[in-house]
């Protein structure tokens, strides 16, 4: 009994059921010009473990040279493909939805005979929340101990794995320094969104950001 599935936009029964779907109305209501919270659309993600010597190979097949500077990310010219630094031999490749198996296979095939690597589809491991606006960093600073000062280390083009409230998170400071992605494990997504919604309440009354 192969049941054709509805292709709902993140809702129940869909091909990509969004863990924070139930909070989307709340997120929209809490969002404004100072800070806005939303869930990012589906995206492919591949965990890559490799040695630095393999990076030219990766760049040739994937189109992006993974960064060797810790806590930074690189992107393809069109911005569609990303490589985020996770560790000295570990990266997260983010690509358009559905690209995971192709990217994974291409990287495996391109592997040099003398090298070896780990490549693993983790597209469904994460939910990505997006916090944007001039007070986005202030909201984050209520639960994140990193230095979020606009002149601090977390500039556009950086990323950081850290803790936020009571869970772990991967932050990506996008091309715009006020737009920050929070990659959380799916099971924590609703907690994280609810926590952020609470922290966003009353943000207009905060006297000053940093």
């Amino acid at each position: 009994m192969d049941t054709p599935l509805e292709m709902g936009p993140g809702g129940p029964g869909g091909r990509w059921e969004n863990p924070v779907f139930a909070l989307e109305l709340d997120m929209a209501a809490a969002s404004g010009p100072l800070v806005a919270l939303s869930a990012a659309p589906p995206r492919a993600a591949i965990n890559l473990r490799a040695t630095e010597g393999l990076l030219p190979e990766i760049e040739r097949t994937y189109g992006v040279r993974p960064p060797t500077v810790p806590n930074t990310w690189t992107a393809s010219a069109d911005g569609a493909r990303l490589a985020l630094w996770l560790g000295p031999d570990e990266w997260l490749l983010a690509a358009p939805d559905g690209a995971a198996s192709g990217v994974e296979a291409a990287i495996r095939d391109a592997r040099a005979n003398d090298g070896w690597l780990g490549v693993c589809d983790v597209s469904h491991n994460y939910t990505t929340l997006v916090l944007r606006g001039p007070r986005a960093r202030l909201v984050l600073s209520k639960g994140c101990a990193l230095d979020l000062h606009p002149r601090g280390p977390l500039q556009s083009g950086t990323c950081a794995q850290t803790t936020m409230a009571r869970t772990r998170v991967l932050l990506r400071i996008t091309e715009e320094a006020d737009t920050i992605e929070l990659w959380v494990r799916n099971s924590f997504a609703r907690y994280m969104a609810a926590w952020l919604l609470d922290a966003m309440a009353g943000i207009a009354h905060e006297p000053r950001d940093f």
Binding site: P70, N71, G87, E90, A145, P153, T163
Partner: protein, 93 residues
């Protein structure tokens, strides 16, 4: 709460890390060759140092890398961090 300098990620708060106990205690190459007492020494016994102490930490909420920290157990000052396989910096251990 310590501020620990991850060799890759820079200074991060202690809750991002996982403590791994005394550093430079290598797993015996041939456990079967050891007496019960020698094996127990490896499994159960660690130094309890007052002053500079070499210990292992893992940046588990960050880059997941294990590394070594030389920490003063009196002042909690982190005196040095160095990567796995590297020798501790010169000076008292």
């Amino acid at each position: 709460m310590l501020l620990i300098e991850c060799p890759w990620c820079g200074p991060r708060e202690e809750p991002e890390f996982h403590y791994g106990g005394q550093a430079h205690v290598a797993r015996p190459a041939d456990p079967a060759a050891l007496s019960d007492a020698e094996w127990a020494e490896y499994v159960f016994m660690r130094d309890n140092t007052k002053g500079p102490f070499a210990e292992r930490w893992c940046h588990s909420a960050g880059c997941r890398r294990w590394f070594n920290v030389l920490r003063d157990t009196v002042s909690h000052r982190v005196l040095a961090v160095y990567r796995m396989g590297e020798a501790p910096p010169e000076g008292p251990r």
